[in-house]
């Protein structure tokens, strides 16, 4: 039986807020915005080791992240907003001007295990 898709919740953090001032092209900002926090049981169920590099796919696009275990609710993954999450966003705004930027269902697949 295939596992249900997880739900992606891009969030804002104060570290990200600080980093925005230093520069969004900075390495630290890129590291932060490509780190996906998932519940340990969700990773285990999908045979994804902690620290693995994964491709995340939504209905609108894909981007690469590093998976880390964290204290987050099951079935959901959290990541600071940034260029990678924008790749996963659909362009449709339902006539509001605002693309939905939270709550997409996604699949993930390991690309390379971290050392």
């Amino acid at each position: 039986m295939s596992l249900p898709r997880l739900i992606l919740m891009p969030i804002r953090t104060s570290k990200q807020g600080q980093q925005v001032n230093i520069g969004k092209d900075h390495d630290d900002y890129l590291t932060m915005t490509t780190t996906l926090t998932v519940h340990p049981d969700d990773l285990k169920e999908r045979n994804i080791p902690n620290g693995a590099r994964v491709i995340v796919r939504t209905d609108h696009g894909e981007a690469e992240f590093v998976c880390t275990e964290g204290k987050v609710p099951r079935g959901m993954a959290f990541v600071p907003y940034g260029p990678p999450t924008c790749k996963l966003m659909g362009g449709d705004t339902d006539g509001t001007g605002m693309p939905t930027s939270k709550g997409w269902e996604f699949d993930m697949e390991v690309v390379l295990n971290a050392e």
Partner: protein
């Protein structure tokens, strides 16, 4: 080097716009920001400033050449977009409106990508407004819905809300409730934390409004929200008992499925609660002067964002005249971007169009654009007005001076350069005559 101390300096590192900072600087840089949080300290001390004043196609250029090139690009465009404006002063925002009007362009701000849905909700059913000062002095029930100010607005709780000591309220008199999909840092400080399932905010807010008004609700549908009837009843009773309540809504509510309907559910609940006490619903805005952009566009055009001047008068239509939509539909042939962070909020479908068309970027740093102009950063070396989260205008007190022009100067010079060019197309009023 002589040192200066600037008291009561204003920070726009987030929408709190704290104006109680003390900046220590020499001629070249700020080296201390007393009272600032870590994010504010970064805002003052660590923002890089570009050494080059302008570039054209990636090559260093003089400011006047860059302005002439920018004016020519915008003059030649059939459907230019003026976009961003979230990180600049109200004075520059006013200049951007004048330029967009002169170009018959579309003008959209970061609002459309952040809390624009709150503006739509206000247009659907109205809104009740107030100031953060009022909240500090009077609020006895403070709810954060899909918001995590402990991380995004670091001094908000201490300055304006739960932890502040107001004239009539202290922490002991206030109840703090957090509704979120996860136990955020803010939730850890709350008296009551309600974990809601993702994308069920509309249902929960509507159920709450029914309970407040004594209407019947279908309990089975409530299960989808992850909240029990008892939890919602308890919250509804607290809402009714509150003498002064506020719901701060965050991106967790405004950017999930339902968008403006979520915002509308929150504002409708707030309006209903004014039957029993005083109640506000306020978005926690993103950093910079995004509230100023709303105020300036409202005052100059009558609309808060997504305004099109192609008929010679302002027209408003979110979804049609908003940056994400216009760019994704490839309906823009040149873009002027004021503050590059706005671009980074766009979905890829919109951003790829920016790679295909000529772009002019006005920012504190040189950016990858057809024309890039580096300006004096507001609050650091440029003065002007910034609007706080509750749309109270405050003045910047920049401790440094700069030889760089301000955003306002550059926008005005581009407009003047456009105005010097001959009218190659019928004027807007002439087009109206033709249409009639």
């Amino acid at each position: 080097m002589p040192q200066t101390v600037t008291k009561f300096a204003t920070c726009a590192g987030c929408a709190c716009v704290c104006d109680d900072l003390e900046l220590h600087a020499n001629d070249a840089r700020i080296f201390e920001a007393k009272n600032a949080c870590e994010m504010g300290r970064c805002w003052f001390l660590e923002r890089p400033i570009s050494k080059v004043e302008a570039t054209i196609n990636g090559k260093p250029a003089s400011l006047s050449d860059a302005i002439d090139r920018a004016a020519m690009i915008l003059y030649e465009a059939d459907s230019p977009l003026v976009f961003g404006l979230g990180e600049t002063t109200a004075e520059a925002q006013r200049e951007a409106v004048a330029l967009a009007e002169r170009l018959d362009a579309t003008l959209d701000t970061e609002t459309s990508l952040t809390h624009g849905t709150m503006e739509l909700a206000a247009q659907l059913g109205g809104k009740v407004t107030g100031t953060l000062g009022e909240i500090r002095n009077r609020a006895d029930l403070i709810i954060y819905w899909g918001a995590n100010p402990a991380r995004t607005h670091p001094r908000h709780l201490e300055r304006y809300s739960v932890h502040s000591t107001g004239k009539f309220r202290t922490r002991a008199d206030r109840t703090m409730v957090v509704v979120d999909v996860r136990e955020s840092e803010t939730a850890k400080e709350a008296d009551i934390f309600l974990r809601i399932r993702p994308e069920t905010d509309f249902e929960a807010l509507t159920a709450l409004r029914c309970l407040v008004r004594g209407q019947r609700i279908v309990c089975e549908r409530l299960n989808e929200t992850g909240l029990s009837l008892d939890q919602l009843r308890d919250l509804a009773e607290r809402l009714k008992r509150a003498r002064y309540g506020v719901i701060f809504v965050g991106q967790g509510l405004l950017q999930t499925r339902g968008l403006h309907m979520n915002a509308s559910a929150a504002t409708s609940l707030g309006i209903a609660l004014n039957a029993t006490g005083r109640f506000l619903v306020m978005p926690l805005r993103t950093p910079g002067n995004i509230g100023g952009a709303d105020a300036m566009l409202d005052y100059a055009t009558g609309y808060p964002f997504g305004v099109n001047f192609s008929r010679g008068y302002p027209r408003y239509n979110p979804g049609e005249f908003t940056a994400a939509d216009l760019l994704a539909r490839q309906e823009v042939d040149a873009a002027l971007i004021v503050g590059v962070n706005a671009v980074k909020r766009l979905p890829d479908s919109a951003r790829t169009q920016l790679d295909r068309i000529p772009t002019i970027v006005i920012d504190r740093e040189i950016r990858n654009a057809t024309v890039s102009i580096a300006t004096a950063p507001a609050g650091i070396s440029a003065s002007g007005t910034v609007y706080r989260n509750d749309k109270i205008p405050l003045g910047f007190r920049p401790p440094l001076t700069s030889t760089r022009p301000t955003d306002e100067d550059v926008l005005r010079r581009i407009r003047e350069a456009v105005e010097r060019k001959p009218e190659t197309y019928p004027t807007a009023s002439a087009r109206m005559t033709i249409l009639e």
